[in-house]
């Protein structure tokens, strides 16, 4: 008597091996990045949190890094993929320096390189799970652009990723204008980051603002924003309506 046993094991193990080579879900993620062009260059703000699902696992992640002399890269999404991208860019800048021809990669070139990398990975169904923001100044011209994990890339005067798309973009569209001063730019970014702090569950109150101008990159020390909780109806939310949700929404 022969009985056929479905020989799933061999195949499924192989498939499992192949499947596990592709990025299926993000694990440790960073939330939004907000960036604007201002008078002297580009300002980029991000908080320093790395969430592992619904746990706030890491509170000291720098999600904005300087690339070469002319660019600033910010990333939201999977942190390990961001670190991999930084390694790619290190290799790129190293190879470029070896030419020793006095030329250095500007923000437009880095943006193009990242677009190609992201789009190619997406075509292989193995994306780098990030939305990247690239800002920089070269030869007096400021540049600000964005690449998503599926390779959508564009430049603009102000960008926001993640939740910032819904909460920060309306504010930036209304209040951004050309030739903002440094103080006004920081105030605008802080306004956006405060709304994100109130309304994005994965945001934390520890942020860094990075600035890039013709002179170079400065990343600020981490600091926190002041928040306001003293509305009179917050003190006694169910004064008029016993039985409704007592939790602050």
């Amino acid at each position: 008597m022969t009985f056929t046993v479905p020989i799933d094991n061999g195949d499924s193990v192989k498939i499992a091996e192949e499947e596990s080579q592709r990025t299926l879900y993000p694990y440790v993620t960073g939330t939004s990045i907000v960036a604007i062009k201002y008078k002297d260059g580009v300002l980029m703000a991000s908080d320093m949190g790395g969430s592992y699902g619904s746990t706030l696992r890491y509170k000291n992640i720098e999600r904005v890094k300087a690339i070469g002399k002319h660019s600033l890269l910010g990333a939201s999404g999977e942190i390990s993929d961001f670190q991999e991208i930084l390694r790619y860019l290190d290799e790129l800048t190293l190879n470029d320096n070896m030419w020793d021809d006095g030329n250095s990669l500007g923000p437009k070139e880095i943006h193009n390189y990242l677009t190609r990398v992201m789009y190619n990975r997406r075509n292989k169904f193995n994306p780098l799970w990030n939305t990247l923001v690239l800002g920089g100044v070269k030869n007096g011209k400021s540049y600000l652009g964005m690449v998503s994990m599926i390779g959508v890339s564009f430049e603009d005067d102000h960008v926001a990723t993640g939740f910032g798309n819904h909460l920060a973009r309306p504010i930036l569209r209304d209040e951004w204008h050309a030739d903002l001063s440094f103080e006004d730019g920081v105030k605008l970014l802080e306004k956006c980051m405060r709304v994100l702090l109130y309304r994005d569950r994965s945001a934390i109150n520890k942020l860094q603002i990075a600035k890039i101008t013709e002179e170079g990159v400065t990343v600020s020390q981490p600091y926190s924003l002041k928040t306001f909780w003293e509305f009179s109806s917050f003190h006694n939310p169910t004064a008029g309506a016993e039985g409704s949700c007592r939790m602050l929404s």
Binding site: L167, A168, P170, I171, S232, F234, P237, A241, S244
Partner: protein
């Protein structure tokens, strides 16, 4: 025609008797009818003397704009109004129903309706339907106990807030409120802030659009400002609108009956077939 053998549903709630048949039909390829959703921005805020409610005026059916200028601020009582987001039929029906219940209650008690009464009637109804009545509401009004603003979610939970937004454009509107709201706003500041929040929804959310409706409720007085702002007017290329150059000319004003010019032959028998 065969009699349907489905029983009347028991009092209150839905009967799910036809779900299995509906599933079978969709599997066989029948497309379920879509319902009119009001992908929306609705907001409310409490100011010094009362409550201001605001809403956009676009009703969508999937990707199409079904109604460019619908009314999303519904009357509940002379001192209570309610904005509705979600399925248009659900918000209409639920607010109409509670509005008539409130009127009967007013006749019975001889007093003005309180906002908390409307709140309780709405949440009881929505909870008993377990979220299937897809109505997300912003209820505001001024009664004898003061101004009140509540949000009601489709599953029946409620919140009491100083400022609230609901609908697909709620994040765009909330970003304006979180950045700019303070306590003790005057009437004009409040109206300006509400209009700004609705415009933020109109211009940044695809499900909201067209005009801004505003309703201001204070003690003993209400103002329904329909189409308070129209930031999306129909524009024409020329300032005069469409104009046609005079290419039609009158040649003759004398009328000649056709029977003088033509011979009419009656063919016997064959009438024109319909």
């Amino acid at each position: 025609m065969t009699q349907s053998s489905v029983d009347l549903p028991p009092k209150g709630g839905f009967s799910f008797d036809l779900c299995k048949r509906n599933d079978m039909l969709t599997q066989k390829g029948l497309k379920a009818p879509s319902f009119l959703k009001t992908g929306t921005t609705i907001v409310g805020l409490i100011f010094k003397d009362g409550v201001i409610l605001g809403a956009d005026t676009r009703a969508t059916e999937g990707p199409i704009v079904a109604d460019k200028n619908c009314e999303k601020i519904h009357y509940m009582a002379p001192n209570i109004y309610c904005c509705g987001a979600g399925t248009a039929a659900d918000t209409e029906a639920v607010t109409d129903m509670v509005s008539s219940q409130l009127r009967l209650h007013r006749y019975q008690t001889g007093r003005d309706s309180r906002v908390i009464t409307a709140l309780t009637l709405l949440k009881k109804h929505l909870f008993s339907y377990q979220g299937h009545v897809s109505a997300a509401l912003v209820l505001g009004g001024v009664d004898i106990t003061g101004p009140h603003l509540h949000t009601i979610y489709p599953h029946g939970s409620t919140d009491t807030l100083p400022f609230a937004t609901m609908g697909s454009g709620s994040l765009a509107a909330m970003s304006v409120f979180e950045a700019k709201y303070k306590e003790g706003l005057t009437r004009d500041e409040g109206i300006k802030l509400v209009a700004e929040a609705i415009c933020s929804g109109i211009f940044n959310d695809l499900g909201s659009g067209s005009n801004v409706d505003i309703c201001v409720i204070t003690k003993g007085h209400k103002e329904y400002l329909r189409n308070y702002m129209e930031p999306n007017p129909r524009t024409y290329v020329s300032s005069k609108g469409y104009s046609f150059t005079k290419k039609t000319e009158v040649l003759l004003t004398k009328i000649t009956p056709l029977s003088e010019r033509v011979e009419i032959v009656e063919v016997a028998g064959e009438a024109m077939e319909e």
